[in-house]
Symmetry: C2
Subunit: 159 residues, 2 copies
DNA sequence: CCTCCTATTGCAACTGGTTGCATTTGTATC
DNA sequence: GATACAAATGCAACCAGTTGCAATAGGAGG
């Protein structure tokens, strides 16, 4: 039994959750990918093994797996949310709103902020797997971005 | 002429953007509210003055106003994105994923992170008006949150 | 291995938000 | 103020994701 699957069974057990083939399969599909995957792609891959699976069960189980801390999700503003297995130590993404380039950031840089929010407000911030938007080095240097408007560079809620 | 409206005209001028009644009205509706408003509410209020306005023009102009830096938007995971006029200095929101309580945070606490991302990656992070999820003080103290699952505490992409 | 209970599923209807396109309307120029 | 041209609008179709509900199926207990 794979490590994450043992974790899955462990997390489900004793809370009234059941181990269903859809759940196991969904997690194993995510495990088998090194990239983020969206719900549609996930369903396609689940379908190869379990053709009767339905999109609503994909969404519902992604939410459950995320609540259990086994899966991370993120919205890069590309029109669909993306998912991946939760890795340790966790990471965040810096996304250039001009050229789309993405940098991965280890969570260390965020510890300071997290600590400060806890100190100042008693707030226990999650901050797993965030998407931070901005301009990458190359695009910052190129031109003064204040005088350009890129209406369709990035759609969705990410602006 | 109101201050933000002057700003609107200024931002539009010379970039080929036009000043339309819908744009002006949308901004003035946002100006007239002290709370975040969602697109549906905005359209309702716009309709009172300009009944033929359409939802797509609301969304398109909200995107434009956000690009121009006049409007902030945020997704609290309540099923609809919320908007407000951009205020200085800007702020962020701490949202408790257990009880829903919200704290407003001045942007100061984020300057350090912003600086570090710039130092380490040359990345120029936006970080206007973020929604940070986590547990508020009261909810953190109450019980060990690792052993509870709240499936419907917060829907959407915010988990 | 049967029974029961309820969590989970599949499905279809729905919601918030986006998009393509034909029509309208700002605005620059005369 | 009329003309011309592209930007913006209204509309209807569309898309990703959610929800209510009746049917299915884990799994605990016997
Ligand atoms: Mn990632
Ligand atoms: Mn706000
Ligand atoms: Zn870039
Ligand atoms: Zn709370």
């Amino acid at each position: 039994m794979r490590e994450t699957e043992a974790k899955l069974v462990g997390e489900l057990k004793g809370r009234g959750y059941r181990l269903t083939p859809q759940r196991e399969l969904l997690l194993s599909v995510l495990e088998g990918s090194r990239k983020h995957l969206n719900a549609e792609t996930l369903l396609e891959r689940v379908h190869k093994v379990y053709p009767r699976a339905n999109k609503s069960v994909v969404y519902r189980n992604l939410e459950l797996l995320a609540d259990l801390g086994l899966v991370s999700c993120v919205d890069f503003g590309h029109g669909r949310v993306e998912y991946e297995v939760h890795r340790h130590p966790h990471h965040h993404h810096l996304t250039c709103r001009h050229c789309g380039r993405m940098l991965e950031v280890r969570s260390g840089a965020f510890a300071q902020l997290q600590q400060q929010l806890h100190q100042d407000y008693g707030f226990n911030a999650d901050m797993d797997h965030l998407a931070i938007f901005g301009l990458c080095q190359a695009c910052s240097e190129k031109a003064d971005p204040r005088h350009e408007h890129h209406p369709h560079a990035l759609q969705g809620m990410g602006f």
